[in-house]
Amino acid sequence: MSEDAKKPAEQEDSLNRRQFFVKLGVGSVAVAACGTVAFGYEFLSPNVLYEPSPLVNVGKADLYAPDSVTLDPQAGIFIVRAAEGFYALTAICTHLGCITAWKPELGIIACPCHGSKFNKDGTKIAGPAPRPLPRLKMWVSDEGDLMVDRSNIITGRELVRV
């Protein structure tokens, strides 16, 4: 009688064989599931991308008329030649990624998808775009070509003088 009463109390603090194996099994499946998530994430993220380089050679400075805005639709950038020098803007709308267009008759950059409007320095005139068009790093290569790095957004407003 006293032994029977003792038994359940013992089981509460110590595992019996079945409970041990259940815990072991659930634990190993949990570890395997974590491994599968990590494996799946790694598998689905490509390690090599066959995408165009973010560096674009946009040619010699004298291709661009003074005080002009030129869209390079392939690269998705604007080359702006102001009175004192050059700067580059992304042409990808900050709303949902459409390519914007320069409207010479209005003197603004406009997005055909949802009607966002920007000044030619990239500042926003009207939404729905949440942010201005960012400026991209621009420099002159050793060969004298204008270069733009599309992956490098700059915050300064300096111009490239040629």
């Binding site: 994430y41 689905l44 993220s45 490509p46 991308l49 995408e51 949902l96 459409c98």
Partner: protein, 261 residues
């Protein structure tokens, strides 16, 4: 001499071969007809009996069955279209144009697939509205409503992934815009977009990923959910027959008088 077609059919149904396939055997009793449904792997999802009243057109407008019907058309036409379509970046557009102008009946199959897809989205929403306004989503059918919401999401995702496959301007910009919407999710948005497209922009990787989602992962998921959805109709007590008739209430004054007397 030649027996009638009915006699031949009857003999066939009594044969050993027939009975090894369809275990219910010959006969048209109510029990027998119930067994035919209950012992068939496909039909057993459904109830063996239904109230005549709930099968009337007015009750459901058959919207659920019509949604399933458009899905069946989409699976069949989709498999046929796959025979002429290569999900690779320069060729996908040409294959789509070949289906329209070169392949026999290609334009018919492609248009059938396209219009059925539009119809399915319409019918799924109509089905949801009908279920909602009849109050058929309430207990004990609330879990089936949840399955239905996932079926609706699956339908929309199938529409969206299929939209990229023609690889034309419309497809490219729709998916550019859509994947940028996905990247608006806080913290993980950009990563989600990267995994979805298999890159930073909509290109060959994105086309292949959308193809696999559209032709394998999403349809298989939808088929499993549809099976559960049908099975739960039976488990939750059959099609919703409408609200219970209201009991006739005794007006409170009359009730009080009745108690006093």
């Amino acid at each position: 001499m030649p027996k009638s077609m009915d006699d031949l059919l009857k003999a066939a149904r009594g044969s050993r071969a027939w009975r090894s396939v369809f275990r219910s055997g010959p006969g048209f009793s109510k029990l027998h007809r119930a067994m035919v449904v209950q012992q068939n792997v496909f039909l057993h999802l459904f109830s063996v009996k239904a109230r005549k009243r709930v099968l009337a057109f007015n009750v459901t407008w058959y919207l659920g069955a019509l949604s399933a019907g458009t899905f069946a058309i989409l699976v069949i036409t989709g498999i046929l279209l796959m025979l002429y379509y290569h999900p690779s970046a320069p060729q996908a557009y040409d294959d789509m144009k070949d289906l329209q102008f070169v392949v026999s009946s290609g334009v018919f199959l492609r248009n059938l697939h396209r219009w059925s897809a539009h119809a399915m989205v319409f019918l799924v929403f109509a089905h949801m509205f009908k279920v909602f306004y009849r109050g058929a989503y309430r207990g004990p059918r609330e879990f089936n409503w949840v399955i239905g919401v996932f079926l609706m999401l699956g339908t929309l995702l199938l529409s969206y992934t299929g939209y990229l496959l023609p690889w034309d301007q419309l497809a490219f910009w729709a998916v550019t815009v859509g994947s940028n919407i996905a990247s608006a999710v806080p913290l993980i948005g950009d990563k989600m977009r990267f995994l979805m497209l298999g890159g930073h922009q909509v290109n060959a990787n994105a086309l292949l990923r959308f193809y696999v989602l559209h032709c394998m992962i999403l349809p298989l998921g939808l088929i499993v959910l549809i099976a559960i959805h049908f099975w739960r109709i039976r488990k939750d007590g059959g099609l919703y027959p409408g609200p219970e008739p209201k009991p006739v209430l005794i007006p409170s004054e009359a009730k009080n008088e009745a108690i006093q007397q």
